[in-house]
């Protein structure tokens, strides 16, 4: 399982360095890093809660689907939990494939899942108090792209 949750800040570049090392047949590595936005000062902290064990298992299931669907050679997913300050990395996903199309699509697919359906509960804590975040409409539209066949592969 190459899914990890961490309470500590992490460096996405260090993960990418490690992920690219010693690969002779891969060709293509796509990555995505999600950073906490300050929302022009309105958000001071993001709080993410996971259900340890359950959350990794749910993500691993989707990663297996991505592996089969896009012929991935490898993948790595790291997700922050706990209190996250603006500018800090929340999530890092890397995908390795022979060609770039598969690597990009798999990374995109995994991010759509992670941002809309993955078992996390998210709270924004700012100067005006705190509020729980529900998935945005755009997240639902993004994930719906992968249901059934895409017109544009």
């Amino acid at each position: 399982m190459t899914i990890r949750l961490t309470f500590d800040p992490f460096d996405p570049g260090a993960l990418l360095t490690e992920f690219c090392r010693g690969r002779a047949e891969v060709g293509a590595v796509a990555s995505f890093t999600g950073l906490a936005r300050a929302e022009a000062g309105s958000t001071t902290t993001l709080e993410l809660e996971a259900y340890p064990g359950f959350t990794e298992a749910a993500i691993d299931k989707i990663a297996g689907e991505a592996t089969r669907r896009f012929g991935l050679l490898d993948h790595l997913i790291l997700h922050r939990v706990g209190r996250i300050a603006p500018g800090e990395a929340i999530v890092f996903v890397a995908t390795a494939a022979r060609h770039r199309r598969e690597a990009f699509e798999a990374c995109d697919f995994l991010m759509d899942y992670l941002k809309s359906r993955a078992p996390f509960w998210k709270k924004e804590v700012g100067p005006d108090g705190e509020r729980w975040i529900e998935p945005r409409d755009q997240d639902h539209a993004d994930i719906a792209r992968w249901d059934g066949q895409r017109a544009d592969p």
Partner: protein
């Protein structure tokens, strides 16, 4: 003595995250939680709240034993 876990806004409503509660069935546990804290009972019955027993989502009623982990999961927001 099932181990009850509350996630997201449910733990804010209840004021706790984890508690040992004795109940032979999930339905009995729900009734017990609602009696002790009506606002939590209402939140648990809210739209999109799912229940996992030992990390597996279940629907409907189910028996509990002393080691069952019962997790109440509000709608998942993604990360």
């Amino acid at each position: 003595m099932a181990r009850v876990l509350l996630f997201g806004r449910l733990s804010d409503v209840a004021g706790w995250r984890e508690r040992e509660i004795d109940a032979p069935f999930l339905s009995a546990l729900r009734a017990r939680l609602g009696t002790d804290d009506p606002s939590l009972g209402e939140a648990l019955a809210g739209p999109g709240v799912q229940v996992a027993l030992d990390q597996v989502i279940v629907r409907g009623d189910a028996p509990l034993n002393a080691r069952t982990e019962v997790a109440f999961l509000p709608p998942m927001s993604g990360g």
